[in-house]
Amino acid sequence: MDFVVQDEYAELQRNITDYIERELRPLEAELDPEKDDVPIELRDKVRRRSAEFGFYAADFPEDLGGSGLPQLGMVLLREAAARTGCRLAGFTVYGPEGPTGVLLAGTDEQKKKYLTPLITAEKSMCFALTEPDAGSDAQNIKTTAVKDGDSWVLNGTKHFITNGKHADFALVFAVTDKELKGSGGITAFIVESSTPGFEVGRGQIGMLEGEGQFELIFRNCRVSEDQILGGPENLGMGFYAAMQFLAMGRLSIAAMCNGIADYCVKLGIDYAKERQAFGRPIGKNQYVQGHIVDSLVELKASKLITYECADKYDHGDAVIQESSMAKLYSTEMVNRVVDRMIQVHGGMGWMRELPLERIYRLVRIFTLVEGTSEIQKYIIAKSVGL
């Protein structure tokens, strides 16, 4: 076991930090600091520029336009980007609008047609699994796909879909066999947004202002059987495809949480040194130190859990338990850390003049998406036979 960051990853971290500080800070300065919104055009500009430099989807294979960066490197890259605290940093590496590992289960043709333009950030997608009546219990989705000749006809409603309005295509999970459900009855379809019957419903605004998530409605939306992820022979295998690449998604969230926590702790330490009360810096008080020390210890633990998981993944381990642990711990950790750092800042922490208030709302999402904390605990319990 090696606890030193390899020099190639350290160099990559420096490069993305330089890029963010030089190119994105000036763009960030043009945003209204008291509004959460980032215009979609700016998001796409940053995505494309970041792809040009090979940051955006570096962990995807080289022959598809990525850099073949191992997950440990990707985790460190994401963490470095998030650590800058720059509001545009999140778009330098792909999120739910970008390539999903699940598409690696596609046919060669599908990968070339759909995955490569996501990796180069020329296009964006959305992942359409959740429905009003099925979130954690994703096996219970109601959207159906019925075979009609050589094509499939989709009907149903998805909700909470990130980037639903702007996506060039959706990866839609639909029931193709009601009896089998998750064990061979759910199929993933690649549905282009221009397909008749693909409708974007209402926008759903959450704790962050802006576009939020979207409903997607499929009304007799007809796609050819070639749009089945992995080709017609992968009928019913949608769930298995998704499972295979869950670790990448969980690791990406963990890495982001670690970077955000790093940034917030740094703000807290600086403030504790500088802010005077009762004639001395507030950081001289043990209660204030406790907020910072607890955060530093938990952050270190979170990073190590994340790095170990990524390293194991790179060595071919399935990391089912490890990736759940990393996702669970890092997302809960960052919520505690931001909360404490607001406390360290006193009333100033609550004000929009500082970034902590926005980050507080932002990080609340992480214990909910990509499997809630409760679901991660369920997976971990199951991994030890409970």
Binding site: E8, E11, I16, F53, G54, S67, G68
Partner: protein, 264 residues
């Protein structure tokens, strides 16, 4: 075309400078490739890429990085290689510690000549630590080739001629220079790329020749420091600036101020 780019490893300019007597502390501090040299590397790479054949194969010639500095300066060479340069030469020698710009130019010219035939040498206008701005010109003199300073745009490079736009106080000069030549480039000449993971991994396999003074047939006398820093004092704090209250004539006053500063 064989292009040589001079790169310097300097203490990270984003961190507070530490002094070692009257010179900058260079060892044991966080170092980076001089940000000004990234423009030089990018310029070299862009010329090479422009001359590349249509099918993406690079044309004849390569981009070589040349640096003088302590062993840690390898990091600056590696950064340039990660960006896409083909090979590196690093001159390191204890005797060179505390060298002045004249000695540096002498050593770099010897290293460049030892590296083989060259068509173009690119340097930054001035380093971000020493700021003498004398190196490119001195280097050209030692190499016996012309020098074009403060290049803000490279217009074309072919047929043994380089066409560039040269920054002046109130515009630019269009200059054509026969090759080989030395040019110094400004920070506006291009937008340097950032090395990707692919670039970083490829750089690990690229050759870097490490040379000492004796490899260059130079002696300690040849590079003896001829310049002495006699006094060092902190830069004066900037003054507060002038505040113009708007009594209806503020716009005109600001315009006059900008004209005086030759901004407009």
């Amino acid at each position: 075309m064989n292009i040589v780019v001079c790169v310097k490893h300097i203490p990270d300019p984003n961190l507070p400078a530490e002094m070692d007597g009257k010179t900058l502390k260079r060892e044991g501090v966080q170092g980076v490739m001089d940000p000004g040299d990234e423009f030089g590397v990018e310029a070299g790479l862009q010329i090479k890429e422009r001359l590349a054949t249509g099918d993406g194969e690079s044309g004849e010639g390569e981009v070589t990085l040349v640096s003088m500095g302590p062993a840690a300066a390898m990091e600056a060479v590696r950064r340039g290689l990660s960006m896409g340069a083909d090979k590196g030469v690093l001159v390191s020698d204890d005797v060179l510690k505390g060298s002045d710009a004249l000695a540096t130019a002498k050593v770099l010219s010897a290293a460049i000549q030892k590296n083989g035939a060259f068509d173009l040498v690119i340097a930054g206008v001035e380093s971000t630590d020493g700021y003498t701005g004398t190196l490119p010109g001195t280097l050209a003199e030692f190499l016996g080739v012309p020098h074009v300073s403060t290049v803000k745009e490279i217009v074309s490079a072919d047929g043994g001629t380089l066409k560039v736009n040269r920054q002046t106080a109130d515009g630019y000069h269009v200059v054509e220079v026969g090759l080989p030549a030395v040019i110094s480039v400004t920070a506006g000449v291009n937008e340097p790329r950032y090395a990707s993971f692919k670039g970083i991994m490829a750089a690990k396999k690229k050759p870097v020749e490490q040379l000492s003074l004796s490899d260059l047939d130079l002696s300690g006398d040849d590079v003896a420091v001829k310049q002495e820093v006699t006094e060092l004092s902190k830069a004066e704090e900037r003054e507060g600036g002038e505040i113009i209250e708007d009594d209806g004539s503020a716009a005109a006053k600001i315009a006059d101020f900008l004209k005086e500063a030759k901004v407009i």
